[in-house]
Amino acid sequence: MSDWVIAMMLGASIFLGAVALVAFLWAIKNGQFDDEEKFLNGAKFDNEDDLNDAVNLERKKEELKKNYRPE
């Protein structure tokens, strides 16, 4: 029984850690840390507007993708 508890705790904690790691790797790949100044300023300036902007941009991209026919 105690062996089972140890295994479960180990598994759960490593899994949780791995989730954080994957998020971190995704952020690196996405270029979020490429520009340290900007990434630090983001903490100062980012607000609702910027979030809305980012979402709108995503939507715009999707829409353009649908209609886009490269020559």
Binding site: I14, L25, F33, E36, E37, F45, Y68
Partner: protein
């Protein structure tokens, strides 16, 4: 009461007199540009820009920039515009005029608002932007117009070169290290449980659970983070070189397989912690090396960046843009003031001054008229000329220069680092020893299992951590020390090369001397109006004129009826019906004026109506640490040589003052580079110190090139070391730092070798238990790191 009061412009925050500002209610603007941008921003709802910008001062927007339509030209598309995976167009731009993070925000916001723009990402640190847009909705020229309308400017650069590659490589190292460090840290706390169990007792079931957890964690470290080592080992084997990668890869892989075997058999000690530790440590060491490596491609980028891809060609009575390769010999090319000449040719229309300093080092502008030849690579200062090309672009002086530089940079000796050579032998010896140990134990009848484990323990204990960390840690400490002293080493390996240098070649002007001649003596033969002479020299850019101007420092000025500069001789002017001459002896001879005057210094004759009225003796001051430097280096056995384009007399006086025995004068840029090449052939390791464009070729040829921070841009770009404060003191500091660092590297290597010499026999005898292996591994690494930190202490004591 004085009404004029300084007021800040509401857009750019620069301060001007209240009277001069454009007033609009409470708002004040310094110019129409600022006013325009301010209203544009508030109309677009972007006025929160000003909250973000605070009181940062911006540059007022430029008035009229050239037409942006050339951004839509096919030749521009071909060179700069790429397709992203979704088929959208993508371009890399450098945005000019970015002062603060608010500027970045504004540009991004403005671009995001445009229809068809999918992504606009501006890097604050280097002002580079990536823009992705849909070509059928919006044109690039419209995007550029938006950037310009809010007061910034953009130009394209070619991102396909070394830079992207270097960034990609760095990013992949970040990813790999994150995984390795995450897994290693987790394995560490599991290992604590393992070791505690080793001493206090642990059931086999719990041990297996811990082993399996470590197994899960170690697998991505070995196969994802450690992939570089497998790849390196593979290429090593292919080229028949036993390298460090092979040792790391086999050691880690064998330990990994053995540990799996132990885990499945449920008997003995697994070594998953060693596997992940080795990979993590060596990966970090490797990353430090990658980080400090300068990309040769980067340098070439910078030389090529000023070369536009199109020129203005005059054809059928109109000016058209043509690609460089499409220009034929005999075409007429139009060059306006401030533009760069890209072709060699002969002027057919117009006249003006050209700056040829990039080719000759002569800082004086040269006046050219119809029939004179223009050389590519020079810049028009105020000339608007049409000229007929005599060579195509491929054979032009400019592209010859670029090719020469390219080959010189590529030919730079690839320094075989001592540690690499050592590790090659080391790796083969360890692998052989491990194999022999295994055989001996097995044949002296022991179980396969025991012999295999002892064989592996040899590889594990010879953990290359210490050896791999020996060089990067020491150089990193050396580099950071250099930066503190204003010495910028662009590549870590240069520390090692510089420590081995035996010849120092110095340029005179700007390196040994301050580069600004000062008036030593003034001989007046006849009274004259000083303000004439002051205005006379004020209009010239020559260092001698500047020296005299500083000496006179008058505030009255006169206007000449006629004024022209004669290259290499002086100035000729007309004032109130008098002919005024000023310059060197050659100018006097040409005008049949005879005077007997001797001096070792540079002389400036001032003549009014064929009568010498004054003579000025000028001298370039030697920098204050020059003598010390030469003395110090000569003591160390480094030969010091001076090269200069000046005449023998001046060269001798400087050389005597500094204490140099060997010097060469009247050297052209080509002479200088040939001189370096010759020394190199004789087997010398050369440091070249210079500052100007005329030293560039020689700099590129030297083993180590050092440039004064105030030197020309190209020289700074191709150099290996930059002295930010221009002082010769930091030059001798650079020598000191490199030799200290090199000594430290040797010590570090010695430490790790001694460590191995003690522990490997123990491992071969089968005395090494896992705990000992783990502890001694960390201790050896700590020793090396600790020893490297000593450099600061050592430096402070000196």
């Amino acid at each position: 009461m004085n009404l004029s009061k300084k007021v800040a412009c509401n857009h750019c925050h620069l301060e001007f007199d209240n009277d001069m500002m454009i007033k609009e209610g409470d708002l004040r603007f310094c110019c129409n540009g600022c006013q325009g941008v301010y209203h544009l921003l508030s109309e677009e709802g972007l006025d929160s820009f000003y909250d973000k910008a605070g009181s940062t001062k911006l540059a007022p927007p430029m008035h009229q920039l050239d037409d942006s339509s050339n951004f839509d030209s096919p030749s521009f598309y071909e060179q700069y515009v790429k397709k992203d995976p979704d088929g959208f167009s993508k371009v890399s731009l450098v945005i000019e005029g970015i002062h603060c993070s608010a500027c970045v925000w504004l540009n991004e916001k403005a671009l995001h608002k445009m229809d068809g723009v999918i992504e606009a990402n501006i890097n604050f640190t280097n002002n580079k932007a990536t823009i992705v847009w849909a070509d059928n909705v919006v044109k690039l020229s419209q995007i550029i117009d938006v950037i310009r309308s809010i007061g910034y400017n953009a130009f394209a650069y070619d991102s396909a070169s070394g830079e992207t590659y270097a960034n990609k490589e760095r990013k992949s190292y970040y990813l790999k290290m994150s995984v390795a460090i995450f897994a290693s840290m987790n394995i560490m706390w599991i290992a604590v449980a393992q070791y505690a169990g080793y001493f206090t007792g642990i059931t086999q079931e719990v041990k297996t659970i811990l082993n399996v957890a470590e197994w899960v964690l170690a697998t991505p470290v070995l196969f994802y983070s450690g992939w570089v080592f497998f790849r390196g080992a593979y290429y090593g084997v292919k080229t028949k070189v036993v390298n460090m990668d092979l040792l790391v890869a086999t050691g880690a892989l064998l330990t990994y397989i053995y540990s799996i075997y132990i885990t499945l058999m449920e008997d003995g000690e697994a070594y998953f912690d060693s596997v992940s530790m080795i990979i993590t440590f060596v990966l970090i060491g490797k990353f430090l090396e990658v980080l400090s490596k300068k990309n040769a491609a980067d340098t070439l980028d910078i030389i090529g960046k000023d070369i536009p891809n199109e020129v203005k060609v005059f054809k059928d009575n109109s000016i058209v843009l043509s690609k460089l390769d499409d220009v034929n010999v005999g075409d007429i090319i139009v060059v306006g003031s401030g533009e760069r000449v890209l072709f060699d040719g002969e002027i057919v229309k117009g006249d003006g001054n050209f700056d040829e300093s990039s080719l000759t080092g002569e800082s004086e502008p040269i006046y050219k008229i119809k029939g004179d030849s223009v050389v590519s690579g020079t810049t028009s200062i105020d000339a608007d000329v049409y000229f007929r090309t005599t060579k195509d672009f491929e054979h032009s002086t400019l592209s010859n220069l670029v090719t020469l530089l390219e080959s010189a940079i590529n030919k730079k000796p690839k320094i075989q680092q001592m540690a690499n050579k050592l590790s090659e032998y080391f790796s083969s010896v360890i692998l052989a020893l491990a194999f022999i140990t295994f055989l001996v134990w097995w044949l002296w009848p022991h179980s396969f299992e025991t012999s295999f484990m002892i064989g592996i323990s040899v590889i594990v204990i010879a953990c290359p951590c210490a050896l791999a960390l020996a060089t990067p840690v020491a150089t990193l400490v050396g580099l950071s020390l250099g930066t503190k002293k204003g010495i910028l080493f662009k590549e870590a390996a240069q520390l090692e090369t510089m420590a081995k240098v035996d010849t120092l070649v110095l340029d005179k002007t700007g390196t040994l001397t301050v580069g600004k001649p000062e008036v030593l003596k003034e001989h007046i033969y006849e009274e004259f109006d000083r303000s004439i002479l002051f205005s006379f020299v004020k209009n010239s850019n020559h260092p001698i004129s500047k020296g005299i101007m500083q000496y006179l420092d008058s505030d009255k000025e006169v206007v000449f009826d006629e004024y022209s500069q004669v290259s290499g001789q002086g100035i000729v002017a007309q004032y109130n019906g008098k002919t005024i001459l000023g310059g060197n002896k050659k100018l006097l001879e040409k005008n049949n004026i005879d005077i007997d005057f001797r001096s070792d210094n540079s002389i400036f004759y001032f003549v009014i109506d064929s009568k010498v009225v004054a003579i000025y003796e000028l001298k370039d001051k030697v920098k204050k640490d020059a003598k010390n430097l030469v003395k110090q280096l000569s003591k160390k056995g480094v030969a010091c040589i001076m090269l200069t384009g000046d005449n023998g007399k001046i060269a001798k006086s400087v050389a005597d003052e500094v204490g140099l025995k060997e010097y060469y004068y009247s050297q052209t840029p080509e002479d200088k580079s040939e001189f370096i090449a010759k020394l190199k052939k004789d087997g010398k390791t050369i440091v070249m110190v210079g500052d100007g464009v005329n030293d560039v070729l020689a700099l590129a040829n030297a083993d180590i090139s050092i440039v004064m921070g105030s030197g020309s841009d190209i020289a700074v770009d191709i150099s290996d070391v930059v002295l930010l404060n221009d002082s010769l003191k930091s030059l001798s500091d650079a020598f000191k730092i490199s030799s200290t660092t090199f000594g430290l590297i040797k010590q570090n290597l010695a430490i790790s070798l001694v460590y191995n010499a003690i522990t490997i026999p123990l491992a071969m005898a089968g005395y090494v238990i896992p705990l000992v292996a783990a502890i001694s591994m960390s201790v050896s690494s700590l020793l090396v790191v600790g020893n490297s930190m000593r450099i600061r202490y050592k430096w402070n004591r000196n």
